[in-house]
C-alpha cells in the first residue's frame, strides 16, 4: 500500500514535471520566435506565462456563459486550427503562406477564401488577437473589393483614418467590426482595404505605380540608405503602371533627383511644385498637424503614388494614428515628417494652404463629428469588447475573477475609460490648436528712407495691411522684393482702392530656417521661425502714420507696433502670398499670343495663359510636343482654322492641356493633322490631343487625322465638364477617342470612321453621346468599360466590328439609335475581374438589324424596350442568363424619364415623334 502510494506520488510528480517542462519549453520557443527569430525585430520582454494563464482563465469564463448580445457588425472567418499552427511554424516566412479558409457572407452563404497573417511585426501574430489578411475569389468580390485586412481595433488608429477619409485624403476606408474566427469572437477589429490596383480604381485613380517604402524592422534592406527620398532601391511597387516595365523606377528617380536639385535651384523647385499638387500635400500636412500623426516619415509608412496622367506624386495615408504628447503642450505647426515636408514648409504658399486647411477643418467641426459618430456606437463597441479576450485579460484581477464565479461574466471598462480620457485630451489639443491660430500675430513696422519695413515673427502670418496717412497720400506703393530700393519688372505697384485707402492684399509669413541644435538632430532637422522683414517703397517716399493688419484665421484686426526689429530679409521661397490668387506676388504674367506660322522645333512647355489667333499654323517637328499648362483660347474660324500639322513627313508628339490651370480652355475650328503621343518627364501622353486633369473644356469643330504609334487620337483623362461638338476623326491609328476617369463628358455631332480600334472607349467615366455617326471601327464603335455610364442618343453605328460593348459594372442607355451592319450589335460581358460584374444595357426606341448579333455572358443583361429588331417590334424583352436582381433594379431605376431629364438639362433635343424608332440623322 505504502509502496503503491509512493509510486503514485512519484508518477504524479513526474507527470507534473513533464507538463511544466513542456509548457516552459513552449514558452521559450514562442518567445524565441516572437523576439528573436525575425530579422531586425525588437520586442520588449514579455511575460508569456502570465499572459497564457490569464487568457486561459478568461476563455473558460467566457465559455461558461455565452454572451449572444449583438455588438458590432460580425465578420465570420473560418480556418483550420492546423493551418493556424502552420502559419506560425516557421515565422516569418510561414506567416505569408496563404491557407484555405471560408468567409460567411451577409446572406449566410459561404465563400472559399485564402487567409494568412498580416505584417512583419511578430506582435501581429503571437497574441490572441492576430492581424489577418484575406483574399476572396476573383468572382466573389464584395463591392469590388477582393482583399480585406483585419487589425485589432485601436481608437486612435480608427479615428485618425476616419478623419483622413473625411478630409479627402487618399487612404483606405475603415470599418469597425467584431471578428469571429471559427465562431469564436476575437473582439473588436478594424476591417480595411489593401493598397493595390483595385484600391486605386475604387478611388477613381488610374492603374499606376504605387510605391511602398519600409526601411524598418523585418523589411530593412541591409546597409542601404534609409532616407527614402534618396533611396530608390528601398522602394518597391505594390501597384503597377502597366505601360512600363515592372522594374522601371524612372518616375521615382525623376522625382528624387528633382527634389535634390530643387533645394538649391529655384527653377527646379518650380518644376517640383508642378508635379506634387501643392493643395493635396498641404492638406496632408494639415492632417498630420491635426492628428499629430508623423510616423509616415522618411524611412517607414511611406506610400507614394506616381501618376503619369495627372503628373502628380501623391502620398497616401498609411497606418494612421493620433499621437498626442500630453507632456508637451507646445504647438508646432511646422513639424515635418519627412524631407519633402521640410522643404515645403519653408514655402509661404504651402504654409498658407496648410494653415487655411487646418483652420477650415477646425471650423467645420469635422473632427468633433467623427468623434460623435464613434460615441454613438459606443454601446455596440462595449458589447463586442465584452467578448474580447485580450481586453478582458489586460484588466485581470482576482476580485473580478471571484465575482465572475457568481455572476458568470467578467467585465471591464478599461478601454471605455481610456477612450474617454483620450477624447478629452484630443479635444483639448484641437482647442489649443485653434487658440494658437487665433493668437495675435507678432509683427512690427518701422520707417526707412524710401518707405517702410514690416517685421513678422513667429508662426502666424499677418494679412490685409491697411495703411493710414495723415496728410498727402502716395499714388502707389510696392513691395521691394529684392531690396534694391527701386521697382523692378516683377514688383507690382499697389494702388489705393475706390475709397482712396491702401489695402495690401497679401499675407506675410516669417522665414522658416532648417536647423539642428545637436549633431544627432542632423538626422531629422527641424524648422525655426525667425523675425523676417519685408520692405516697401512708397510713391514720393510718403509714409503712413499707422498700419493695421489682420490675423487671417481669426479675422481680428490689430495695429502694428512701431518699433525697429533686427530681422532677416525674406528667403527665396517665403515671398508674400496674394490672398486672392493664393500665389506668390511675383509670378503674374501676361498671356502669350500665337499668330500666323509657328515653327515648333523643340517641345514647347507653355506656363502662361495662351491665345491662339485664327489662321495660326503650327509646323511641328518629329516627336515634338506643345504642352499647355495654363488656359488656352484657340478661336479659329471656318475660313481661317487653327492648324497643328507635321513639319516633315514624321509625326509630331502631342498637343496637351495639362493640369487644372488649363480649366476653361476653348478650341474652336482647329485641325490636328499627324500627331502621335509622347512623354514629358514623368507624364505620359497617349493621344495626339491629350486633355489631362482639367475641367470646363470646349472643343468645337475639330478635325483630327493621321495619328501614329500611340493609342489614341484624343485622350481625355481625369477631366470634368468637357463639351465636344462637331468632331471629325478619320483613320485613327487605334482608338479615336479614349475617355478615362472623367465625368460629365458630352460628345455631339461626332463623325468617326475607320478607327484602328474603338471609335470611343470609356473607362470609369460618364459620357453622353448624341447625334453622332460612328462607322467602320475595327473593334467597337463604343466600348463602355470599367464602371462607366453612357447615354447614347440619336446616333448611327454602322459597319463596326462590334456596335456597343458594355462591360465591367457599366451601364449604357441607348435611345433612338440605329445599329446596322455591325458584325455584333451588342456585346455585354465581364472582362476585368476587379469590377465583379458584367454590363447592363437598356435599348430604347432603337433599330437593330439582326437579333442574333446580340451577345451576353452570364454576368450581364440587355433590355430592349419599344425597339425594332429586324423590322420586328419588341415592346419589352430582357436578355439575361440569370435574372440578376441588381441588374433589374439598375434597369428600373434608369428609366426613360430620368434619361430624358438628364438630356433636356443639357439642352439636348430628343427625337420628337413618339413612335419613331432609330435615329433621325
Amino acid at each position: 500500500m505504502k509502496k503503491n502510494f509512493k509510486f503514485s506520488l512519484l508518477g504524479i510528480a513526474s507527470l507534473f514535471l513533464l507538463l511544466i517542462t513542456i509548457f516552459s519549453i513552449n514558452v521559450l520557443k514562442k518567445d524565441f520566435k516572437y523576439a528573436h527569430q525575425s530579422f531586425v525585430s525588437y520586442q520588449d520582454s514579455f511575460n508569456w506565462f502570465s499572459y497564457h494563464l490569464k487568457t486561459k482563465i478568461i476563455k473558460i469564463i467566457i465559455d461558461l456563459k455565452v454572451n449572444n448580445k449583438i455588438g458590432l457588425t460580425a465578420k465570420n472567418l473560418y480556418i483550420n486550427n492546423n493551418s493556424i499552427k502552420e502559419l506560425l511554424d516557421k515565422t516569418p516566412s510561414s506567416t505569408k503562406k496563404w491557407k484555405q479558409g471560408f468567409y460567411l457572407n451577409e446572406d449566410n452563404s459561404v465563400d472559399n477564401i485564402e487567409i494568412r497573417l498580416k505584417g512583419d511585426n511578430p506582435g501581429n501574430w503571437f497574441f490572441e488577437k492576430k492581424h489577418w489578411r484575406i483574399k476572396k475569389k476573383k468572382d466573389e468580390l464584395i463591392n469590388r473589393q477582393r482583399d480585406f485586412e483585419y487589425t485589432p481595433f485601436e481608437f486612435q488608429t480608427y479615428l485618425s483614418g476616419k478623419i483622413a477619409n473625411s478630409i479627402g485624403l487618399i487612404s483606405p476606408s475603415l470599418k469597425l467590426i467584431e471578428l469571429f474566427i471559427n465562431e469564436e469572437s476575437q473582439g473588436t477589429y478594424i476591417e480595411s482595404e489593401n493598397l493595390n490596383e483595385s484600391f486605386l480604381r475604387r478611388e477613381k485613380i488610374m492603374p499606376i505605380n504605387l510605391y511602398k517604402g519600409e526601411q524598418i524592422l523585418a523589411e530593412t534592406i541591409i546597409e542601404l540608405e534609409n532616407n527614402l527620398f534618396n533611396s530608390p532601391g528601398a522602394l518597391k511597387k505594390i501597384a503597377y503602371f502597366n505601360q512600363v516595365d515592372v522594374n522601371d523606377k524612372s518616375d521615382l528617380i525623376y522625382l528624387f533627383k528633382l527634389f535634390q536639385l530643387s533645394q538649391n535651384n529655384n527653377v527646379k523647385y518650380s518644376e517640383l511644385l508642378d508635379i506634387i499638387n501643392l493643395d493635396y500635400w498641404s492638406k496632408f500636412s494639415a492632417y498630420q498637424i491635426l492628428t499629430q500623426n508623423f510616423h509616415n516619415d522618411s524611412s517607414h509608412n511611406f506610400r507614394l503614388l506616381s501618376d503619369p496622367w495627372s503628373g502628380y506624386f501623391t502620398p497616401i495615408v498609411h497606418d494612421p494614428l493620433i499621437n498626442i504628447d500630453t507632456n508637451n503642450s507646445k504647438i508646432d505647426l511646422d513639424k515635418s515628417s519627412n524631407e519633402m515636408f521640410l522643404l515645403l514648409n519653408k514655402d509661404s504658399s504651402f504654409q498658407n494652404l496648410k494653415l487655411e486647411f487646418i483652420n477650415s477643418i477646425l471650423n467645420s467641426k469635422l473632427i468633433e463629428n467623427e468623434i460623435i459618430n464613434l460615441v454613438k456606437i459606443e454601446d455596440k463597441i462595449k458589447i463586442s469588447e465584452g467578448r474580447d479576450i485580450e481586453n478582458l485579460s489586460a484588466d485581470f484581477s482576482i476580485i473580478k475573477l471571484f465575482l465572475s464565479l457568481f455572476t458568470g461574466k467578467y467585465e471591464t471598462n478599461r478601454l471605455i475609460m481610456e477612450r474617454k480620457i483620450f477624447i478629452k485630451e484630443y479635444l483639448s489639443h484641437i482647442s489649443n490648436l485653434k487658440k494658437f491660430l487665433h493668437l495675435k500675430p507678432s509683427a512690427n513696422w518701422y520707417k526707412i528712407d524710401h518707405g517702410f519695413e514690416i517685421y513678422v515673427n513667429k508662426e502666424i502670418p499677418i494679412s490685409n495691411l491697411k495703411l493710414n496717412f495723415s496728410g498727402e497720400k502716395p499714388n502707389w506703393l510696392a513691395i521691394d522684393l529684392n531690396e534694391n530700393k527701386k521697382i523692378d519688372l516683377n514688383e507690382v505697384k499697389i494702388y489705393p482702392g475706390s475709397d482712396q485707402k491702401f489695402v495690401i492684399p497679401y499675407r506675410f509669413y516669417a522665414n522658416r530656417i532648417v536647423f539642428s541644435d545637436k549633431t544627432i538632430d542632423l538626422l531629422k532637422p527641424k524648422l525655426k521661425t525667425v523675425a523676417t522683414r519685408f520692405r516697401f517703397i512708397t510713391d514720393k517716399s510718403i509714409l503712413p502714420t499707422s498700419i493695421k493688419y489682420e490675423n487671417p484665421f481669426s479675422k481680428k484686426i490689430y495695429e502694428l507696433r512701431y518699433k525697429k526689429l533686427s530681422a532677416f530679409p525674406f528667403f527665396k521661397n517665403n515671398q508674400p502670398v496674394d490672398i486672392n490668387s493664393k500665389q506668390l506676388v511675383n509670378i503674374k504674367t501676361n498671356p502669350i499670343v500665337f499668330d500666323k506660322i509657328i515653327e515648333v522645333n523643340k517641345t514647347l512647355i507653355i506656363n502662361q495663359e495662351t491665345i491662339i489667333k485664327s489662321g495660326t499654323t503650327f509646323n511641328i517637328a518629329k516627336g515634338k510636343n506643345i504642352i499647355f499648362k495654363k488656359k488656352v483660347i484657340a478661336l479659329g474660324t471656318k475660313d481661317k482654322p487653327i492648324i497643328f500639322k507635321k513639319k516633315s513627313d514624321a509625326e509630331w508628339g502631342t498637343i496637351a492641356l495639362q493640369g487644372d490651370s488649363t480649366n476653361n480652355s476653348i478650341f474652336r475650328n482647329v485641325i490636328f493633322d499627324g500627331g502621335s503621343g509622347g512623354q514629358l518627364n514623368n507624364i505620359k501622353y497617349t493621344g495626339a490631343l491629350s486633355i489631362h486633369n482639367t475641367k470646363n473644356i470646349e472643343l468645337t469643330n475639330i478635325n483630327m487625322s493621321n495619328n501614329k504609334d500611340f493609342d489614341d487620337m484624343l485622350h481625355i483623362v481625369y477631366a470634368k465638364n468637357i463639351k465636344i461638338d462637331s468632331i471629325n476623326i478619320e483613320d485613327s491609328f487605334m482608338d479615336a477617342i479614349d475617355i478615362d476617369m472623367s465625368n460629365n463628358i458630352e460628345i455631339k455631332n461626332a463623325k468617326i470612321k475607320n478607327s484602328g480600334n474603338d471609335a470611343i472607349d470609356l473607362m470609369e467615366s460618364d459620357v453622353i453621346i448624341t447625334d453622332s455617326n460612328l462607322n467602320n471601327s475595327k473593334d467597337k464603335a463604343i466600348s463602355v468599360g470599367e464602371n462607366s455610364f453612357l447615354i447614347l442618343n440619336n446616333s448611327i453605328l454602322f459597319k463596326n466590328n462590334i456596335g456597343i460593348a458594355t462591360k465591367d459594372n457599366s451601364f449604357a442607355f441607348i435611345l433612338h439609335t440605329d445599329l446596322s451592319k455591325n458584325n455584333i450589335s451588342f456585346n455585354n460581358y465581364l472582362k476585368n475581374w476587379r469590377y465583379g460584374d458584367g454590363g447592363v444595357t437598356k435599348v430604347y426606341k432603337s433599330k437593330l438589324e439582326n437579333n442574333k448579333k446580340v451577345k451576353i455572358d452570364k454576368k450581364s443583361t440587355i433590355q430592349f424596350l419599344n425597339s425594332t429588331i429586324n423590322n420586328e417590334y419588341i415592346e419589352k424583352s430582357i436578355i439575361s442568363k440569370k435574372n440578376d436582381t441588381n441588374h433589374l433594379s439598375i434597369l428600373n431605376n434608369n428609366n426613360y424619364d430620368l434619361i430624358e431629364g438628364i438630356l433636356k438639362n443639357k439642352g439636348i433635343n430628343l427625337v420628337g415623334e413618339s413612335n419613331y424608332f432609330g435615329s433621325n440623322l
Binding site: 514558452v27 506565462f49 535634390q260 535651384n265 539642428s516 545637436k518 525655426k528
Partner: protein, 340 residues
C-alpha cells in the same frame, strides 16, 4: 552510503533542468537577456571560425562554413531571419579578403544564396558579379546593373564594370557607366551598427555651423543639399544674427568627393563682404587639402564623418552667408578609360 545517494543525482539533475526551464519561462527579463546574449555569442563564434580560415586565405573552408551558417539559418526559417545580419557580416568579411578570381569563385555560391534570401541588398550583387565575371560577363553585368539601381551613387558596382571593360577592352561600356557614375545623385550606405552624421553615408547632404568670435559654438547646425558638378552658391540664413570668425562644414560622403572652395560672402544689413581663398585658412579632420590659383580643393575620404574648418577675420551682425563652391566626385578611372 555514497552509492545509495548517487542514485538521486540524475533526479536532481532533471529537477535542476526543469527548474531552469521554468525559471526562463517565468522570469521574462532574464530569458530575454540570456537569449540575446546567446545569439550574440553564436554570431561571434560563426564569424570567428571564418576569420581563422581567412587568415590562412583558405577560401574553400570559409565558403563551407558560410554555407553551414546559411543552412542552419534556413532550419529556422527559409527567408530572411535574425541570422541574416551575421551571415552578411561574415560574407562581407570573406569578400573583403578575396583578391583573386579563384577566391571569388569559391564564394560564388554563398553570394548567390545571399541574393536568393534578399535580392535588394547592394553588395551581394557586386560580389556575385565579380565571381561570375570570368565565365559569364553578361550575367555579371546584369547583377551590376541591379546593384546600381539599388544604390546609384555607390562606387563598387561601377568599379567592377570598369574592371570588366578594362579587361574586355570595351571603352564604350566604361564611358557609358562613367557618365552615369559622375552624374548620379541618389543612394547611400547605412552602416550596420551606427548612424553617420546624416543617417547614412551619402553625397547629397552637408551642414554648416558658424563659429563666432569667442569660439563658442552657439549657432545651430544648418543642413543643406549638395548640387554635384557645378559651381553653386550655397546660401544660409543663420537662426540668429551672429558675429562670425568662420565656420565648419560637415560631410559624410559615400564616395571620394572633391570640394573646390571659391568664395565666401557675408551679408549684413548694409554690406556684403566677399572673401577669396587668400582670406581664409582651411583645416580638416581627415581630408587632404590643395591650393590652386583661386580655389582651395578639399579631397574628402569616403565613408568617414568629416569636419572642414574654415576661419577668417571677424565679421559682425551677419544675416546671410553665401559659399561658392563646386562639389564633384573624384575619378574612379583615368580619362583614357573613363571618357566623359
Amino acid at each position: 552510503m555514497f552509492f545509495k545517494k548517487i542514485k538521486y543525482i540524475p533526479i536532481l539533475l532533471i529537477i535542476l533542468i526543469v527548474f531552469f526551464f521554468v525559471f526562463l519561462a517565468v522570469n521574462f527579463d532574464s530569458r530575454r537577456s540570456i537569449f540575446t546574449k546567446l545569439l550574440v555569442v553564436h554570431d561571434f563564434y560563426r564569424i570567428k571560425t571564418i576569420t581563422s580560415d581567412l587568415q590562412n586565405r583558405n577560401f574553400p573552408a570559409a565558403a563551407k562554413k558560410l554555407n553551414n551558417y546559411i543552412k542552419f539559418s534556413k532550419k529556422i526559417s527559409n527567408d530572411k531571419n535574425y541570422m541574416m545580419t551575421g551571415i552578411y557580416e561574415a560574407t562581407k568579411l570573406a569578400a573583403s579578403r578575396a583578391t583573386t578570381q579563384e577566391d571569388y569563385n569559391y564564394l560564388e555560391n554563398i553570394f548567390k544564396q545571399l541574393i536568393d534570401i534578399d535580392n535588394r541588398v547592394y553588395k551581394p550583387h557586386v560580389w556575385y558579379a565579380r565571381a561570375l565575371s570570368d565565365n559569364d560577363i553578361g550575367k555579371s553585368l546584369d547583377h551590376l546593373k541591379i546593384a546600381i539601381e539599388i544604390s546609384p551613387s555607390e562606387s563598387d558596382a561601377y568599379r567592377e564594370i570598369l574592371r570588366i571593360s578594362q579587361n574586355t577592352k570595351d571603352p564604350k561600356l566604361a564611358s557609358k557607366y562613367c557618365v552615369v557614375y559622375y552624374s548620379s545623385l541618389l543612394g547611400g550606405n547605412l552602416p550596420m551598427h551606427f548612424d553617420t552624421l546624416f543617417g547614412s553615408f551619402n553625397n547629397n547632404k552637408f551642414a554648416i555651423k558658424l563659429v563666432n568670435k569667442s569660439n563658442k559654438f552657439t549657432e545651430n547646425y544648418l543642413p543643406a543639399s549638395t548640387s554635384l558638378n557645378k559651381n553653386q552658391l550655397y546660401e544660409f540664413l543663420p537662426t540668429e544674427v551672429i558675429d562670425s570668425d568662420g565656420f565648419n562644414l560637415y560631410f559624410s560622403p559615400l564616395v571620394g568627393l572633391k570640394i573646390n572652395l571659391k568664395k565666401i560672402y557675408y551679408h549684413s544689413d548694409n554690406k556684403i563682404f566677399e572673401l577669396n581663398i587668400g582670406d581664409i585658412t582651411v583645416t580638416s579632420k581627415s581630408s587632404f587639402i590643395e591650393d590652386s590659383n583661386d580655389t582651395v580643393s578639399v579631397f574628402l575620404i569616403p565613408k568617414i564623418n568629416e569636419t572642414i574648418r574654415i576661419r577668417h577675420k571677424n565679421f559682425q551682425s551677419i544675416k546671410k552667408i553665401g559659399i561658392l563652391m563646386d562639389i564633384k566626385k573624384m575619378s574612379i578611372a583615368n580619362n583614357n578609360l573613363c571618357r566623359r
